[in-house]
Each structure stands twice: as structure tokens, then as C-alpha cells.
């Protein structure tokens, strides 16, 4: 009996959490303009999403979102990894202070980050657009990369850097042949994290995107919803994004579990 209640509670909770996304996913397979009307199974929304004839600006927004995410994730992975190596080699109070400074942007509400970046760009006289969104995304993604690379560095035997130098590697060769292979799992997790954060972001993007007509998915949907009624193609799109993010999360988890198992074997 006790088990029955526990099970029910669990499923109820999961249903509450996932009901909205499941509803969207289900109704993405019907043609009805209004969400909630079932007019029979159809994949037309999926085809019209990609044929581009209906909503060209939506495809543009998707493209922008993904290119921005890729650039931001790549750059912040490089910056974050370098920063993590630097922080790792610091000692005592200095290290504590920098780690603390690295954590603040993550705890800071996105809206504040967005407003401050907006004010920064305005005061510097930078025209806002694609470039400013990329810069803003790099800014808020980098600390997460630092956070995911740091544990790999801490696990590393401190002597292996010296061992590589000892065997004749220059400091740069050591970085390339020993340090980076060692922290690569952390860098990959950091990249994936940065990528999903960037795709997901609305608050920072809306403040830095400017008024040149540039749209990302989140700003497009926001504008679309405010114009009255959601474009039906958003349903298959949401479903695709959800599945993509789900896949990425599964990859991260599998990698983490594999790394943990490898650790145990040592």
C-alpha cells in the first residue's frame, strides 16, 4: 500500500512536470491552428516548418539561434578552459577570490546580466545586433565552462605536467599533448552546457539583440505570442528542440557515468 502511494506520487509529479511538453508534442502532429483542437494525425506542420514557404523569418530565427549557440559555446569553451588552468595554478586567497568572482555571474539573475550588458553596449556606443548577442552569450557561458573543467584539473596528478616537461615537451606541447587530453571530458561537458544555455536564453538576448530586425528563437516566439496566437509551426519546433536537449542531456549523463566507472577501475 505504501509502495502504491509512493509510486502514484512519483508519476503524478512526473506528469505535472512533463504534461505541457507532452501536450505540445502530441498536438504537433495535427494541423489545427489553435492548440487543443485535434483534427486528425498529420505531419504537415513538420514539413511546412522546414519547407520555409510559410514562415521564412522563423527559419532565420532558428538558424541564428544555432549559429550563435555554436560560436558562443566554442569561444567560451576555449576561454573557460584557459581560465580554469590559470585558476588551478593559483594559490590560497587569490584562488578563492577568483573562484568566487567566477561564481557570481552564474548566481546573478539573467535579467540583471541582460540589463547590464545592454547598458555597457549603449555606453560604449556599440550597435547592437548579432555580434553583441554572441559576446553576451560568451560572457554568461564562460563561468559554466570554468566550473565543469576545474574538477578534471583537480583530479589530475600534478606531476604529469612536470613529467611531460621532463621528457622534453615545451610548455605549449605539454598543454596540447597532456593537459588538454586530460581535461577534454570537462571541456566537452562545458561545451554542451554552454550550447544549451545559449539556445535557451531569452532574458540576456532580448536586451542585446538590438532593433535591426534580428531574431532568435526565443525572441521570435515572444514577439509571435504577443502579436496574438502562436504560429502552429512552433509546436513541431518545440518538440524538436525538446528532443534535441533531451538527447544532449543523455549524452552528458552517459559520459559522466562512463568517466565515473573508469575512475572506479583505477
Amino acid at each position: 500500500m505504501k509502495k502504491f502511494f509512493a509510486q502514484t506520487y512519483l508519476w503524478l509529479l512526473l506528469a505535472l512536470l512533463y504534461a505541457p511538453i507532452i501536450i505540445i508534442a502530441v498536438f504537433s502532429f495535427t494541423e489545427a491552428k489553435v492548440l487543443g483542437n485535434w483534427t486528425g494525425f498529420s505531419t504537415k506542420l513538420y514539413t511546412s516548418l522546414f519547407s520555409g514557404g510559410v514562415r521564412h523569418s522563423l527559419l532565420d530565427a532558428i538558424e541564428n539561434t544555432f549559429t550563435i549557440a555554436l560560436i558562443a559555446a566554442a569561444v567560451s569553451t576555449i576561454l573557460g578552459s584557459i581560465a580554469a588552468i590559470g585558476i588551478h595554478n593559483m594559490r590560497g586567497r587569490k584562488r578563492q577570490a577568483i573562484t568566487f568572482l567566477n561564481n557570481i555571474p552564474m548566481l546573478n539573475p539573467d535579467i540583471i546580466t541582460g540589463i547590464s550588458l545592454f547598458l555597457l553596449f549603449v555606453s560604449l556606443g556599440v550597435t547592437q545586433g548579432y555580434m553583441t548577442v554572441v559576446l553576451a552569450h560568451i560572457a554568461f557561458c564562460t563561468p559554466y565552462v570554468v566550473l565543469s573543467v576545474m574538477p578534471r584539473l583537480q583530479q589530475m596528478n600534478p606531476n604529469i605536467y612536470e613529467a611531460a616537461l621532463d621528457l622534453g615537451a615545451t610548455p605549449f606541447q605539454t598543454l596540447r599533448k597532456v593537459i588538454i587530453p586530460e581535461i577534454r571530458p570537462g571541456m566537452i561537458s562545458g561545451f554542451i552546457l554552454a550550447f544549451t544555455l545559449s539556445i535557451d536564453d531569452f532574458a540576456v538576448t532580448i536586451f542585446t539583440i538590438g532593433n535591426q530586425g534580428l531574431e532568435t528563437l526565443s525572441t521570435f516566439i515572444y514577439a509571435d505570442a504577443r502579436k496574438g496566437g502562436l504560429t502552429p509551426e512552433l509546436r513541431p519546433l518545440s518538440t524538436i528542440i525538446f528532443v534535441t536537449v533531451l538527447l544532449l542531456l543523455i549524452i552528458i549523463n552517459v559520459r559522466a557515468r562512463r568517466a565515473a566507472r573508469k575512475q572506479e577501475n583505477i
Partner: protein, 461 residues
């Protein structure tokens, strides 16, 4: 026999401090080509720092390291013709055994077929043939250390540095590896510089042992010299077991200790000179018949140690001696003892009393060790620079460190048969030597106090 040009590494006046703490203090050392040199000392003596400086991972504050005539002090580690075996192996976890060993050769652009030949040869040398495709994380500690050694020797370095390479292995494995290392040294013919805190390992492996303590070299010599002729009580205490006793050299070949006069083989100390005497526990002959013995005693304890028995005997004059013998004697029984003249090792005393430099604050106050001590009027005036001497047994140690005039930490304890000789390091970094019957532990914090009548003050000129 030793020619000047045979020196491969010459270390001159090397010093290093970390945040005020002196780790290496004016080290001078010559290492010959092909020699097996061991840097031996307790943890914190500076031996690893010295090794890391030779490897190039640390920069000296002053002094130079000369290798084959060239000053390499400023040469970065990757350009030094030497390789290191690390204590925690430091294998590259993302590479397999083969690629770990080939790492240095690939960097040096050695042709692929030669790399393969040399890696296989190195693997054979460390008895790890057929392991080349294994993941290094799947190897045992001993196997990892073998790979680490192979990775270093495959580059044919002129000097191989080994930083406590066997410390993480169990006893049996350690013994086997010791023999293999010694054999490897003979086969390769290159210079080995080996760091260890294990005196037995040092004696077993080395051509030359460098005993270090407190950032200074205490003694350099062959294992036999170090064991039989320690230069001071630190070396005698650190290498093997020993009885270290206060003695007096009465004249050449005659020394007095534990209340008896012994014939010895040492000369040139002068007459009636205070010395330290070292007797190895296996050098005391013990017999049941007390009548014809040199001195007698009562057995206090007797423990079986495998090959021999280890006994503590209280002598007729109240000194405790450690004796090792193949025969066991009953606890409580009276025994007789002999020592051969050649087994008595006499050492110059490093000091006979504490000596401090100080300044008079008033007629009856003197400042030494950064604090003010009351003293008796001695003729020295306010502001005079003075030398203050205090006998070892006149220094009082107090349990509560706040009760003393100066605070300190017990750094080193030496048992001298009937009392303890302690080295106490004060907060100001000065050393105070204390003779006491009380039992203290290393690392205890104590208060140090000296009564006014025990300060012997003379003016400094």
C-alpha cells in the same frame, strides 16, 4: 682515482627559501659520472627540493648547478639532458603503455622504427614485455612504476633522477625493485640520483649517500663510512640503530662514558675534551658471566626481532643501552658487557652549550631570541652587545607555552642513555638545545624559560 673531469654535476652554494623558511642552505655537492648517489634525510630536510632543482622544476635563490661544465641553472626542464621518475609515477592516463614510453622519443623526432625498437628494449629491461597495449590505469602500482622507469630510461638520459620511486610499494615489492634498480644502474652505466627517507634503502643501493637535515648536508660518504663513522649525532641517530652518549676524551685512545673508561682508536681530540660517543647495538658483546666483564647491567626488556634479539639493559651506572644479540637473556638477569675499541665511534661535539647573541636592555635585563630575560648584574651596560651562554640542562621547558618567556616547538629528540637531548625551535626561528629527563614528544609546543643565575653573559667584541 677520481679525476676532476669525471664530475657530471657540480652544485655550488645552492640556497632556496619558501616564504622565509630556509629549505636549502648553501649546498655544495659533486656527483661523479655513473655514480649512484642517494639524497637521504627525514621529510622536510630539503632532499626533494634539491632534486627538483636539478630537474629544473624549481629555481634556486642563489647558487649554480653545473652539468658537464655548463651552468644549467637557467635552462628550462625540457632542455635538460636528464629524466625523472616521480614518486606517484605520473604516467599519462590518456596514453597506453607504449605511447607513454614513446612520449619523449616522439618529441625528439626519433624515427618510428627506432622508437619501436627502443620502447621494446626498455619494456624488456623493466620486465614488462607484452604490456605495450595495456591501459596504464589497469596496471598495479609496481607495474606503473616500471613503466615510469622505462619512460625515463628510454630517452638515454645522462642522469636519471628518482624521487622516492618505491615509497608507495609494499615491502616485498620494494625489496625486489631495489635489486632491479641496482642491476639497471650497472647495465645502463648512467648516473642515478635517488631521493629517499629510508636509510636501509640508501645503504643498500648507493655508491654515495648524502645525508641531509634542515636544508644542510650533514655527511657525504660511502654507505660503510656513513654507517661506521657518522660525523655527528644526527647522522648516527638517523642511520640504523645506535646508542648515542655523552663522553669525555681523556687522552688519545682513551675515552670515558657511561661511568667507565674505555680504550678506543680515536686520536687528536686533545685531552679532557667533551665528545659524543656512538655504539651500534650489535657492537656490544653481552655475556651471562658478569664477573670478568668490562661493565655490568640488568636486562630491562628483551624482544625477538627475527634474526636477533633486541634488549634494553640498564648499566651499573644507570645508563640505558640498546643491545642486539643472537642470544636472549632473561629480563631481570644480571649480565656483563664488552665493547671492542674499534667499535667505539667518537665524534666531535657540535656544541657544548647554547650560545645566543643578545643586547643588554638594562643592567639586569638582556634581550635574546627576541625576548627579554632577567639576568644578574655582570658589568655589561645598557645597549652593549653581548654573548649569552646557557647550559643545556639549565633551560626549563614548560607545558603551557604561554608560561615561558619564549615559545617553541620540539623539533628533534635524541636519547643519550640517561637523558634526552632536545632541539627546540623558537617562534623566532632560533634553536635552543635542552637536556632533560622529562619525556616530550616531537611537535610539542613548549614555553622556554631560563633562570637569571644561569645566563652567562660576556661582552661581544
Amino acid at each position: 682515482m677520481v679525476k676532476q673531469n669525471n664530475t657530471i654535476i657540480k652544485i655550488e652554494h645552492l640556497s632556496k627559501s619558501f616564504a622565509e623558511k630556509v629549505v636549502l642552505d648553501d649546498i655544495n655537492l659533486d656527483i661523479r659520472r655513473g655514480e649512484f648517489v642517494t639524497l637521504l634525510g627525514p621529510s622536510g630536510c630539503g632532499k626533494t627540493t634539491l632534486l627538483r632543482m636539478i630537474a629544473g622544476f624549481l629555481q634556486p635563490d642563489s647558487g649554480v648547478i653545473i652539468m658537464e661544465g655548463n651552468d644549467i641553472s637557467d635552462v628550462p626542464p625540457h632542455r635538460r639532458p636528464l629524466n625523472t621518475v616521480f614518486q606517484r609515477y605520473a604516467l599519462f592516463p590518456h596514453l597506453n603503455v607504449y605511447d607513454n614510453i614513446a612520449f619523449g622519443l616522439k618529441l625528439n623526432k626519433v624515427p618510428a622504427d627506432e622508437i619501436e625498437k627502443r620502447v621494446r628494449k626498455a619494456l624488456k629491461m623493466v620486465s614488462m614485455t607484452y604490456y605495450e597495449d595495456r591501459d596504464v590505469n589497469s596496471l598495479s602500482g609496481g607495474q606503473q612504476q616500471r613503466v615510469a622507469i622505462a619512460r625515463a630510461i628510454v630517452n638515454r638520459p645522462k642522469v636519471l633522477l628518482l624521487d622516492e620511486p618505491l615509497a608507495a610499494l609494499d615491502l616485498k615489492m620494494r625489496k625486489d625493485m631495489q635489486m632491479e634498480l641496482k642491476e639497471m644502474h650497472n647495465t645502463l652505466g648512467i648516473t642515478f640520483i635517488y631521493v629517499t627517507h629510508d636509510q636501509e634503502e640508501a645503504l643498500t643501493l648507493s655508491d654515495t649517500v648524502v645525508v641531509m637535515s634542515d636544508g644542510k648536508i650533514q655527511q657525504i660518504g660511502s654507505p660503510i663510512d656513513i654507517y661506521n663513522e657518522p660525523v655527528n649525532s644526527f647522522v648516527a641517530d638517523f642511520i640504523g640503530e645506535s646508542n648515542i652518549l655523552n663522553g669525555r676524551m681523556l687522552k688519545d685512545r682513551e675515552v670515558e662514558f657511561i661511568g667507565h673508561t674505555f680504550e678506543c682508536v680515536d686520536e687528536g681530540f686533545g685531552e679532557d675534551c667533551a665528545v659524543d660517543v656512538v655504539i651500534r647495538p650489535e657492537d656490544i658483546y653481552i655475556i651471562a658471566n658478569a664477573e670478568n666483564a668490562k661493565f655490568t647491567g640488568t636486562v630491562k626488556s628483551c624482544i625477538f626481532k627475527g634474526v636477533h634479539y633486541e634488549m634494553f639493559v640498564e648499566t651499573d651506572k644507570g645508563y640505558e643501552m640498546m643491545i642486539q644479540d643472537y642470544n636472549a637473556f632473561d629480563v631481570g638477569s644480571t649480565v656483563g658487557m664488552f665493547i671492542k675499541p674499534s667499535d667505539i665511534h667518537v665524534m666531535q661535539k657540535e656544541r657544548v652549550c647554547n650560545t645566543f647573541e643578545g643586547k643588554m636592555i638594562s643592567d639586569t635585563t638582556v634581550e635574546i631570541m627576541g625576548s627579554q630575560f632577567e639576568c644578574l648584574p655582570c658589568g655589561a651596560k645598557e645597549g652593549d652587545d653581548v654573548i649569552v651562554r646557557v647550559d643545556f640542562n639549565k633551560v626549563e621547558l614548560l607545558d603551557n607555552k604561554e608560561d615561558g618567556i619564549v615559545m617553541g616547538e620540539i623539533e628533534f629528540i635524541l636519547y643519550k642513555g640517561n637523558h634526552y637531548h632536545l632541539t627546540v625551535l623558537t617562534d623566532e626561528g632560533e634553536k635552543v638545545y635542552v637536556d632533560t629527563n622529562d619525556i616530550w614528544d616531537k611537535g610539542d609546543f613548549v614555553g622556554i624559560s631560563v633562570s637569571s643565575k644561569d645566563l652567562r653573559i660576556t661582552k661581544r667584541v
